[in-house]
């Protein structure tokens, strides 16, 4: 066969196999999470007015600015700083002074993520670390829950307080959270209000049904592992439910425990942070069960009304150990051991 002249590329490209690539990239995953958080931000705005947008917006700005200032070049594009910003904002009360929010966001990204080496290397969930910092630094501001004002447009607190000045919070506009009412005043709440979000609390934790919907979307798309929310919620239901069976007067019922506080937001959006959760599926069950147990212990016997944040941070610290003891069994390893033994 004579060789037919053929156009050839001057230089063939050489890359290693495999030459195909799945569709999803880390940035796709992160921006999908951002997208599914937006309805929750919208619900927060519906319940808490313009203050919600101010707090979440400031938190995102603070997180992104810190990422840009201290992070690797182009690392804003991966979307993870935006997620941290939104999540931190959603865990704060609507009336939080904005300078505190910005400080918390800077701490979340700077100390929570970049100090460890940036995306993928941090041990603790950055948003929760930022919130833990704010809780330690400004315990009063972070537990001042807004009540119901006369108009949607009214700010739910002194958002524009100057740094290091006493924020001006009239008593009349504060209210308690369902968990606070339960712990300190032995007063229950209507479950329907808890489910739909018509209650006091942090910005993003109230609309439980919406959080579950958004989480369900992410789980279906494969951007969120359902094992963690499932094991956390099941553990809380079983543990709190048995306590309630033993002494109904002393311990809250399982539905109340599930729907109040930040449990669902934490279970769906915080515990599932891929970077700070176990990498093995068995480990994810262990991780979720651990969080559920710690949440119930803190809420029931601890000094604080809410314990989701500390439960997740505590289990974050155990992730390396969980990973080590839940390594998958290699195909053929058992047969090989039998042959050798």
């Amino acid at each position: 066969m004579t060789s037919i002249p053929m156009r050839e590329p001057a230089q063939l490209v050489i890359t290693a196999s495999p030459h195909l690539k799945g569709r999803d990239s880390t940035a796709t995953i992160m921006w999908n999470v951002v997208g599914s958080l937006l309805p929750i931000v919208a619900a927060a705005t519906w319940f808490f007015g313009p203050s919600a947008l101010l707090v979440v917006g400031t938190s995102v700005l603070g997180a992104v600015a810190t990422e840009r200032w201290l992070g690797n070049r182009g690392s804003i594009g991966d979307g993870s700083a935006v997620i941290t910003g939104i999540l931190l904002g959603l865990t704060l009360p609507a009336g939080m002074p904005l300078w505190m929010v910005a400080l918390g966001a800077a701490f979340a990204i700077g100390f929570g993520k970049l100090l460890f080496g940036g995306l993928g290397y941090n041990i603790f969930n950055p948003a929760l670390l930022g919130r833990a910092f704010l809780q330690a630094a400004f315990p009063v501001a972070i537990t001042t829950w807004p009540g119901r004002p006369t108009s949607w447009w009214v700010l739910r607190g002194d958002n524009f307080a100057l740094p290091f000045m006493q924020p001006h919070v009239p008593d009349a506009i504060t209210a308690a959270t369902p968990l606070g009412l339960m712990k300190f005043e032995q007063q229950g709440s209507r479950l329907a209000d808890l489910l739909l979000g018509n209650r006091g609390g942090s910005l993003g934790e109230t609309a439980v049904l919406l959080i579950l919907l958004c989480g369900g979307y992410l789980a279906l798309r494969g951007y969120l592992n359902w094992r963690m929310p499932a094991s956390i919620l099941a553990t809380v239901a079983i543990f709190a439910g048995s306590l309630h069976q033993i002494a109904p007067a002393r311990y809250a019922s399982a539905p109340f425990m599930l729907l109040s506080g930040g449990l669902v937001l934490g279970a769906v959006f915080m515990a599932t942070d891929m970077v700070t959760a176990p990498v093995t599926n068995a480990g994810r069950w262990v991780f979720g069960i651990g969080i559920g147990v710690v949440v119930v212990i803190i809420r029931t016997w601890g000094g604080l009304p809410e314990g989701v944040m500390y439960a997740i941070l505590l289990m974050n610290a155990l992730v390396p150990v969980i990973n080590r003891v839940t390594q998958p069994r290699v195909f053929g390893a058992r047969a090989r051991a039998e042959v050798a033994g």
Partner: protein, 161 residues
Amino acid sequence: VERIVTVSGHGVARPANLIVPVGTRLRDLLAYCGGLTSDAEEILAGGPMMGLAQRNLDVPVLKGTTGIVVLTHDEVRGQGSYPCIHCGRCLDACPMFLNPSLLGDLARMGRDEEMAAAHLADCMLCGSCSYVCPSNIPLAQLFMGSKAALRRQVTAKAGAA
């Protein structure tokens, strides 16, 4: 001494299954299939998952050659990668139930001995982990390098003994 060879990919003008003598050069094979398209960039001996990229078109069809795939510019895999976010997709994808995430971390730190303890030898370089990795980490390529490094160590030890 003939092989049935599949010539395909978007970079080939007329893809075909051909019976060709072993030793046929890729240049002749591709010319018979109508040549390359203008955006053809990479030529693989083998399939898109485990095939090897070829340096030039003088390479002959060998006795093990089953297919030639020509990738276009848009299909060539990008080299940029994100850090590992430990999403665990590679663990779900691995047919040997290895932990490619852990192996990848170890490989980038050059900790070959720990990789051997984590059953690197069971990896068959199928590339499923690299395929699913959202951070585009070249896991299979890293493992190939670590396997070679471990083999060299074993050979060196055998030589010294």
